[in-house]
Amino acid sequence: MAALATIGRFFLGFFAQTGQLALFIGQTLAALTRPPFYFRMIGQQMLRIGYFSLPVVALTSFFTGGALAIQIYYGGNQFNSEAIVSSIVALGITRELGPVLGGLMVAGRVSAAIAAEIGTMRVTEQIDALTTLSTNPYKYLVAPRVIAATLCMPLLALVADILGIFGGFVVGTQSFDFNAAIYVQRTFSFLQFDDVASGLIKAAVFGFIIAIMGCYNGYHSKGGAQGVGRATTNAVVSASILILAANYLMTALLFSA
């Protein structure tokens, strides 16, 4: 009986959380479409989420591109590797690794920061204060972060694409003595607009996930510093899992058609 009760509690908790998240997303979408719009807040968040995430995304993608080139070179046919390495690095980075790794890195940095900030505001009654001052917290806190993350992630993914390909190029030309001109020419001959576009669409969805999970977990945090810590961890874990799940679903949708 105790085991059944535990299972029952787990499912009740799961459905309650899912329902609460759905309501939160609904409130956020309503806030996104109705004025007032806090443009200055959106700008500030774009700076914090987009600009300040540039170094971490750039370094991640550069080294991933380089590592990918090494793996393909040693894993494939080394005598005809110039064409294979450049094309697989380009496709791998633009379709998958750029947006996914960029998304995961930004999830770690931004989702945690959003959850910690909003969670602290929750436990110190700043969100209640906003409400009593006739300001809708969904419009003032959540919407600017969601808009900023959704707009910035594709731009970060584009940077990741460029630097990831460049990482492969550096390794190919410096370590394996590939001809630079041929490498570039092969990269662009294989790469299609759809490859880049699909990655950017994915990145926009990941941006939405990152911001919404940070805001949701922070907004519902309780119990002082420990509660904020829990919210931060939950934000990063849930955003990362949802990014990977959404990536699978979108890949299936975009490339099976």
Binding site: P36, T120, M121, T124, E125, Q126, D128, A129, L130, T131, T132, L133, S134, T135, N136, Y140
Partner: protein, 265 residues
């Protein structure tokens, strides 16, 4: 006199815990009502229910003749506009300087210009005895007493008709407690506002209350003016205002008698 705020049979339950059990309370226009009660008696839940931050399970809360239970947030804008609130820890926005905190309502809702907002910030700070040098500081740089005073400045900046004070003197030294009590008294008199204060602090009660109510287990079990407070022989009130460990009030979360017996042995 006209009732500015009226609560009738308000119930609120969290899980299996009944926090408010048919709470009924009337606050007249221009009156300073202080609700006292121990930790866990339901004071904060009552206040959050009046502010619309929590929705009661049943009962009625009428502010200025308008029923607010079940009223959507966007439909209580007119009510919210006439309310000021001093939170227990100030609840100042960390990311904004003092002047933006104080003039927040004007900046966000009335499209106030920066110059105008700074002016409002200056005036409100002066009313609570703070100087202009604080305007550009962030809340993190303020002491506990200043935090409270800036919170009070924010609460009165828009000259509200109703002001709520959530434990305004908790955590302050006796001198700062007296300063805050006087500021509350002065501000309320200047504005002619109706106020509701929740506190444990009997010094505050004596300094600012026109009328006092004792909340115990989610119900008002005694209410009266200052003279009645001293004259009352109510055993619950007697125990609370004299801070006695023994009496009819049960301390939340423990069997007090057993705990004290354990200490004695």
């Amino acid at each position: 006199m006209t009732q500015k705020i009226s609560l009738a049979h308000v119930h609120k339950t969290f899980g299996t815990k009944q926090v408010l059990r048919g709470l009924t309370l009337d606050i007249e226009k221009g009156q300073s009502m202080v609700v006292i009660g121990g930790s866990g008696s339901g004071k904060s839940v009552m206040l959050k229910s009046i502010l619309g931050l929590l929705t009661p399970d049943s009962g009625s809360i009428v502010i200025d003749g308008q029923e607010t239970v079940g009223l959507a947030r966007e439909k209580r804008t007119a009510i919210d506009a006439q309310i000021g609130m001093l939170f227990q820890n100030g609840a100042l926005f960390d990311s904004l300087p003092v002047w933006k905190n104080v003039a927040f309502r004007g900046i966000q809702n009335e499209g106030m210009s920066e110059d105008e907002a700074r002016q409002i910030g200056k005036q409100a700070l002066r009313r609570v005895g703070l100087g202009d040098e604080l305007l550009d500081l962030f809340p993190g740089a303020l002491s506990g007493g200043m935090h409270k005073r800036v919170g009070l400045a924010r609460a009165i900046a828009s000259s509200p008709e109703i002001i709520f004070f959530d434990e305004p003197t908790t955590g302050l030294d006796p001198i700062m407690t007296d300063v805050i009590n006087h500021l509350i008294e002065d501000c309320v008199q200047d504005l002619g506002a109706t106020t509701l204060t929740i506190t444990h602090d009997m010094t505050s009660v004596r300094a600012i209350a026109d009328k006092t109510a004792l909340l115990y287990k989610g119900e008002i079990i005694w209410h009266g003016d200052q003279a009645a407070l001293d004259a009352s022989e109510d055993p619950f009130l007697h125990q609370f205002i004299h801070g006695l460990a023994h009496g009819p009030i049960e301390v939340e979360g423990q069997q007090l008698e057993a705990a004290l017996a354990g200490l004695d042995s």
